[in-house]
Subunit: 257 residues, 2 copies
DNA sequence: AAAAATTATTGACCTAGATCAATAACTCAT
DNA sequence: ATGAGTTATTGATCTAGGTCAATAATTTTT
């Protein structure tokens, strides 16, 4: 039986210090006083149910979002109707900054499960960034990371075989969870096979077959969305399409899994 | 016969106002006084011969580069030796910002032809950005644009057939030149077929065949690196793999709000 | 200016992964 | 619980584009 008051209390106190993720999130590296200024700017905490949108492509841009819990899929689409998943986003990640240049969102963000986010008005954040050098730097840092991770994704889709792409995807998820104190070898996929396939530029069927194949090889166990990695090194080896294995680093403190 | 003194004079005066590209470049939208402050920060003008590196992957990051003339190819590589071209960069573009997060470059930038760049020490730029709101905004703007263009590239490689990828590539070059007052229908490719293929995630042979194919269709003439587009609409149609044609927008016609 | 090296084109063939199709397993609304 | 609608798995086939190979055009080196 749960004590409702505890839940309500935590919901009321919207402070970064009280959030377990603050060292991965926006306030990363801020001095105490600056963190309070940031707190005063964070509008509120919002709860998003599975399938709800955080924002949609073409929406006016005014707010960036920090994920507290849950997970979010972002994707762009073109007129022809084709969609491209651009990433899955986990707690601590900052979403929406890439709309700065157009002033409207160029992708949609939809919750993959019940998700809680902090909303930060971008204008206020820009003001803060002027006064707090480390905040300004952090925003550039976050965007720079996103670019790097996009380049990595590009390379993966353009140059690596299907097997290596899925292995890398799983390893990066694993690293992400590991970094945050969760199990790196056993976790839950909040996204569908379809979404994974789309992100990796593959057909669903290929992803399905690869999961089965990895399982047959004894590299992992997969049962629907539950993954247990048995042979991390083995998985890594499959990501090396040439000779030496390129270890996948957690694009961590932020960005894509 | 050329008058050397004119050339020397323009080389001496390192001011943004005197540069034909200033409305596409870093000083975009700056007030006059602010532009002078920017001028005082720009270290020098550097000339890079074809094949020389502006910077290499893993180099320490200290400087961002604005291209004045010529063109630059950026690419990342992984341990296995595979390389991924991440972009071709033309006058007015700003290079290097994506190294902010790691403090060292994660890609290499090599000149495709004789190229002239302005060097801006990043630390000084960060300082300026604190004092000049529109400069801070512009830096975020540039990075946001880069992310959007990477997402577009991702979508292209993951979802579009080879023909559409090359057509889009040519159209975006065309738009870029058009925007800068050059011919949108006749231009020179400074990059090799190999580089184009790499950027688009294709084999050289495929690119070659597609050029021939486009020519057979009467869409364009190609002679080595010289391109003349005859049927812009026709080219656009080939980029629509489904139904309606997604018009390619120039990746770098920066508009400040 | 000739030789060597690089870059581009074209053809013949082949394969990784897409597509099509048929179940099976799960989710959700009633 | 029950049926409708998803989502996942597996097999059979097909194809876009990759690979291999030969040649030509161009650039670079000597």
């Amino acid at each position: 039986m749960k004590d409702k008051t505890v839940i309500d209390l935590s919901a009321l106190r919207v402070t970064c210090q009280s959030c377990g993720l603050y060292q991965f999130c926006l306030p990363m590296g801020l001095a105490e006083g600056d963190m309070e200024r940031l707190d005063s700017v964070i509008k509120r905490r919002r709860k998003i149910e599975k399938g709800e949108y955080l924002y949609r492509m073409h929406d006016a841009f005014s707010t960036v979002y920090a994920i507290r819990s849950g997970s979010v899929k972002t994707y762009t689409s073109i007129e022809s109707g084709a969609e491209q998943v651009t990433g899955f986003h986990l707690p601590g990640e900052l979403l929406g900054l890439n709309a700065v240049s157009t002033q409207h969102h160029t992708n949609s963000a939809i919750a993959l499960e019940t998700t809680s986010v902090c909303e930060v008005p971008f204008e206020r954040l820009e003001e803060l960034a002027r006064d707090i050098p480390s905040m300004q730097h952090h925003m550039l840092h976050v965007m720079s990371q996103e670019i790097q991770s996009d380049h990595c994704q590009l390379m993966m889709i353009a140059k690596m075989p299907a097997e290596a792409r899925l292995a890398r995807f799983l390893l990066s998820l694993s690293a992400h969870f590991g970094n945050r104190g969760f199990s790196a070898t056993e976790f839950h996929l909040s996204m569908s096979r379809n979404d994974i396939a789309n992100l990796l530029g593959l057909a669903v069927e290929t992803v399905s077959r690869l999961f089965s194949h990895f399982q047959d090889e004894g590299l992992l166990s997969v049962e629907r969305k539950h993954i247990v990695i048995h042979d991390m090194d083995g998985l890594m080896n499959t990501t090396a399409q040439g000779s030496s294995q390129p270890l996948p680093k957690d694009s961590s403190s932020n960005q894509r899994p």
